[in-house]
Symmetry: C2
Subunit: 485 residues, 2 copies
């Protein structure tokens, strides 16, 4: 079928361009000398513009019409390929070119304004940029007439199929339970501080990743200011971590977290590579993979034996219990990115409620700091001393990424749900994790999550893997062990 062949060729081209964009981004964050930044911005803008032109071209519509007309002749994979191509093409074309350009400009300018405002602890300096971003986000949402709530249009870019209503339905009871658990945790004494020499951390990260199957022939492990994962293909995977003299072994935990993202992309079947189905399906699904490895493997009491063994091999003797206490300590705090696993979703619930209110117009930007501080008091029981440690802490709103936050918490919930099902299917993993054996976990994830690529959206994927939709109960059972252990 010539139309399908043409469509597949274009999709492969777009996949290659996206990979080049990831390469440029990875290089920028790990290898590029600082003075390379201005030219890199040009390279990325050119790539993005070409990608957009090729992704929204009229001829794709012709190919789609022809391929859909011959629907019965399509394989199951090709049917999904055509379905997603139709969705992606129509969604991208819905947004007028002028609006897309203004969104990009406002995001770039907003980030610059935010950096200055955060450094100066000056919300008023940031407010006009945020007002512009909110107005543009509403214009963007208005491009999609078929959504029940404007926020749904934003959410769809990160987690297609989820809605504001569905997220509220999940988050509201979650917040109530977590707030109670947080209050309970606040009464517990802090564990003794743990300071691990950086050299021992480095050796342990390398050894632990090697146990998980990380090999030089198809992986890279580098250092970056903010840990992240990139991939250039199913056999060219690049993760990063960072080394700090902190008390939570962030280097190890971040490496295991990024490994979860990486494994998802690696275990998408080869036949889906270079198609529009050949990657993780959504931000929530991706975060569920990183959180599964972070919370359910990395923070598992049995896995503390592995961490202790590897630190010991590097000359730093420590008991597994001391590691487990340190990396599972719960304490309400101000900053999302350093929050513990139990309180983390509450930071997200706050942001979700506020950004929904901004988008629907029930909250003014000027009233946002007070609403933030009220929320932190209500949900986490902490007092926000200033906006730099409050409403100004995250980059997302400055860069126009409204709708992104929910995936961080949904990922935690889905991870716990998948883990319960994995142990029900494959048996308890305690013994295996005590020796660092994870082959059964990898195989279960490949079979029940990774093999779909983008063929299933977030909640249908959770349904297929666990037999029910997104459910906060497994997560609540998991984090209760942090408080009541």
């Amino acid at each position: 079928m010539p139309a399908l062949d043409a469509l597949r060729d274009r999709i492969a081209e777009l996949s290659d361009l996206a990979a080049l964009g990831r390469l440029a981004g990875w290089d920028q964050r790990t290898m590029m000398p600082p003075a390379g930044a201005p030219a890199r911005a040009h390279h990325l803008a050119t790539l993005e513009r070409l990608f957009h032109d090729r992704a929204t071209a009229d001829e794709i519509g012709t190919w789609l019409d022809e391929a859909e007309a011959d629907g019965d002749g399509l394989t199951d994979v090709d049917r999904d390929l055509v379905r997603l191509a139709r969705r992606d093409w129509e969604r991208t074309r819905r947004v007028p070119g002028d609006l897309a350009a203004e969104l990009a400009a406002a995001a770039a300018e907003g980030e610059a304004v935010w950096q200055t405002a955060r450094a100066a602890n000056d919300f008023a300096a940031f407010a006009p940029a945020l007002e512009r971003n909110v107005a543009l986000a509403r214009d963007y949402a208005a491009s999609f007439e078929d959504v029940a709530h404007p926020y749904d249009a934003l959410l769809a870019d990160y987690d297609f199929g989820l809605t504001r209503a569905r997220v509220s339905e999940i988050f509201d009871p979650l917040a109530a339970e977590l707030t109670a658990l947080t209050a309970e945790a606040a009464t517990r004494p802090d564990p003794p501080p743990l300071v691990v020499p950086l050299e021992a951390q480095r050796a342990a990260v390398d050894a632990i990743l090697a146990r998980l199957g990380v090999r030089d022939d198809s992986w890279r492990v580098d250092i970056s200011a903010h840990p992240f994962t990139s991939w250039l293909s199913g056999t060219d995977t690049r993760i990063t971590t960072r080394y700090l003299p902190d008390t939570h072994l962030e280097s190890v935990i971040a490496a295991v977290h990024e490994y979860g993202h990486a494994l998802y992309e690696r275990q998408v079947p080869a036949e889906l590579q270079r198609t529009n189905l050949g990657r993780g399906t959504s931000m929530s699904a991706h975060e569920s993979q990183s959180k599964l490895w972070e919370n359910h493997v990395g923070r598992h009491p049995a896995f503390a034996s592995v961490i202790a063994a590897e630190l010991g091999a590097a000359g730093f003797a420590i008991e597994p219990d001391a590691i487990h206490s340190a990396i599972c300590a719960v304490k309400p705090s101000l900053i999302r990115v350093s929050a513990d696993p139990l309180t983390y979703p509450l930071h997200i619930v706050l942001r979700f409620d506020l950004e929904v209110a901004l988008i629907e117009g029930s909250l003014e930007v000027a009233d946002l700091p007070a609403a933030w501080n009220d929320g932190m008091r209500r949900l986490l029981g902490v007092e926000v001393p200033d906006d730099a440690h409050g409403v100004l802490q995250d980059v997302h709103w400055s860069g126009g990424a409204s709708g992104y936050f929910p995936s961080y918490a949904l990922g935690c919930l889905i991870a716990a749900q998948l883990w319960e099902r994995l142990e029900a299917d494959a048996g308890p993993q305690d013994e295996a994790l005590r020796t660092g054996e994870t082959a059964a976990i990898r195989a279960w994830l490949a079979e029940h999550v990774h093999r779909y690529g983008r063929r299933l959206d977030t909640e249908p994927l959770v349904q297929a893997a666990t037999g029910r939709g997104i459910d906060p109960q497994p997560f609540l059972r998991h984090v209760a062990t942090y408080v009541r252990a």
Copy 2:
């Protein structure tokens, strides 16, 4: 002028795509895990195809017509920009799409066949691939009706404006003189072998590059199997070297050589960046820059003091004379890439004569090994033991890069010619080089070579910088010092 603006935008886009291609190539040779290769081939092929489509598009012709019609209104730079855009656009469009695709396929397949044939020392296994490449090169040359000799069309891709006749005019007397000098050198005793610990080599490379102005804010220095230079912009420069326990300090010499390539790209004026003028003008001009730094700085007797000082600082005590003797030793040998500065051009003259004969049809592929071995005996006085150490040693013919070889020798000649003029203008550099001071050299090159970018072709550039065309005499004077010192 809207046409000129449109042309400039397209040229900037092509410049960005070329930079992304260099990034992908740099990554492939320094960072990429081996299993990333198949996907990288897709990324690069997609990028190349898009580049070709955008570079040969019909609308460029319309913009060129309009810009040329308004020629009087153009600045000098814009006139050159339009002139080069016209040339590049017409040359690329001359080649039929089918032929371009077959050339690319034959190059990829030819390289694979060559690798196997070289490993097996089996020229007969390579001959059909070479015959195909020769036939395609002739078809390619036939796309350009306005050339006096088919080889001129191939040469123009690497050194626009040079011709087979002009190169012969330069090479024929050069070969005669060098053959005599080589025979003279063969009677001299070998210097004692020099083995420098790798750690001392590493420290010396870093320290010497730092003396030349290499800083982390806008440079990278990495290791690769074959040293090379890449650049992502004028302030993002990436060179590599390699570390071997050899007797010629290749790590230092290669680093200084690559620095010469890098400095050329860095000192092209900012106003030419992201235009079609903003890079080195030709392969010969580029090689002249690397060879100037390699032969006239790195191998300068005075600079041996700097190398000795830096090796000494790294704990390896050695006299400057011992370094100079080792890195300037002359000995006729079989392999081009490890040849000394004096005999190196003879390896090139041989390849040039043979590839001209193949292209014009006066030599059959089947007769090539015998012709090679005869040439090595005649030019260098060495006997070729087998084809792996003879006609099969280089990748170029397998990959369809006929016409490339001359630039290696022309670069040596131009380097010597520029160096003589530089010392005539700026004074002898002996004292400065003894302390590693090279600011005057960098400034002279910026003023007389680098500032033109592509605005002058190879021989006009040499003419502008030295007052005459390419002349082998300065090189012959230079290498005579290796034999008669």
